[in-house]
């Protein structure tokens, strides 16, 4: 499985998956193939706190022209790692302007994953989306 999937490729993949059982198995595969974060990066500073599973996130805007987001994240839960792979496809290599325009709820709904990304569910994933957006907003502010 390719690790540098685009969101359009994911839409295509998910169209062939009949139900949650199949989507879940696919997410598990994505999760196992997620590039690992070095153990030393799994520290308190990089930890995105969640009630259920933890996520460690290392992200920065690369000073390309225009700047683009580069990030690696890992969770201690495999299915969350699969969902992180979806977010990497969604946010990776995007400019701050593109990132702030992305409606993650809509994307997750289209993928049939809406119940896995909600502010009420309080897993590390949603906090991670918040953190990525915040980085993008800060980078956009610096650029203007």
């Amino acid at each position: 499985m390719a690790v540098d999937l685009t969101i359009d490729e994911l839409y295509e993949e998910f169209e062939d998956l009949a139900d949650w059982d199949e989507r879940c198995d696919y997410l598990i595969d994505l999760g196992f193939n997620l590039p690992p974060l070095p153990d030393e990066a799994k520290n308190e500073a990089n930890k995105v706190h969640g009630c259920q599973s933890n996520v460690w996130l290392v992200a920065e805007m690369k000073p390309t022209q225009p700047p683009t987001l580069e990030f690696i994240a890992n969770s201690d839960a495999i299915i969350v790692n699969g969902l992180i792979a979806v977010l990497v496809a969604l946010f990776g290599r995007q400019t701050p302007e593109q990132i702030v325009k992305i409606d993650t709820q809509e994307v997750f709904a289209r993928l049939g994953l809406e119940r896995h990304l909600s502010p009420q569910r309080r897993n590390g994933l949603y906090s991670m989306v918040d953190r990525v957006r915040q980085l993008a907003v800060e980078a956009a502010a610096r650029a203007s």
Binding site: W20, C24, A77, N123
Partner: protein, 417 residues
Amino acid sequence: MTNSTPQRPFDVEAIRRDFPILQQPLPKGLPVTYLDNGASAQKPQCVIDKESEVYENYYANAYRGVYRFGAMIDEQLEETREKTRQLIGAKHVEEVIFTAGSTMSLNVVASGWGRRHLRPGDEILLNETEHHANFVPWQQVAAQTGAICRFIPLTDDRRLDLSRLDEVLTPKTKVLTVTGMSNVLGTINPVKELAARAHAVGAIIVVDGAQSVPHIVTDVAGADIDFLAFSGHKLYGPSGVGILYGKQELLADTDPLLTGGHMIDRVYRDRSTWAASPAKFEAGTGPIAQAIALGTAIDYVSSIGFDAMHAHEQQLAEYAHQQLNDIRGMRIYGPSLEHKGAIFSFTIDGAHPEDLAQLLDRRGVFVRHGHHCTMPLHDLLGVSATVRASFGVYNTRADVDALIGALEFALGRLRLA
């Protein structure tokens, strides 16, 4: 007490038929395997029907109208109050207060009794296995009064270490608050002994009965409990209603948490006086239909009998314990079976509890994962989360088998088998 005299022989299949939610097939024909009774229990048809009956036939506000609907509501609420008195073995019906649930009941005690009686340097005796609902309110009242929270030492298997109780239970202790049954470990605490020892140093005892009241016989007068909190929804009753029991003389010396309608004696322009208990603690419109249907739930569990329910659940616990322990990498937290009820919190080496819970759901097996509102306990266990399977009266060996099958499926998916 009437709560241990069953009116019918114990037949789990007949009991299951009383719960419509268990009858439905899930997609792909999977049966419902509901093992989250520690969080909330399912409702028998008679409870569901009773709540509808109230709304369809005689709903009105409580304790306000003289018209016939109002009178019927009052009568039925008082019937539930009396049934609750019998269920928990209280002496007086005025000692039974309707609340929103265990959390509210415990907050009434911590705030209403605690702020009135605790002074700087007084001690509140807790332990690290308590649910946040019996933990945080005491931290709050300690911060407000200058009282100090202390903790009963635990044994290696996380039971209260009564041999070391005297280290922390002293004349400085003003309140000992303890769960009747741990919501994570299932540990059943010796509340009668704790009550006697608390009273010996002049402290009161508060029991969080959220987990114990639905599963074991409760006898507040016999065990000399000062305050008891529990919820209707874990007792196969409606959500939104709970009970606070308090000894009459202590309730007289406790401030209400909420003030407003119904709870007053006389309101003047500049001050008010309170009605007597229970009205004093029942400000505003409560969960009327829910409280009435709680009476039906109490009838239901009483007809089965607590001894029969407990025996059934202990047999299941024994079977579940055996079967779970056969899984490689299994760690069940807490004491051995003789000290606990049918609650299992566990981890499996290499598997995250969130993954396990999600994969179990795919097999129709419903369990909880996370810290179960016991972060200090999980700190002590050294894990951030566990999976919890908690059993109720309608669970069977087939449910245990479904749990084991689903765990094996999950471990396969997680490449651990």
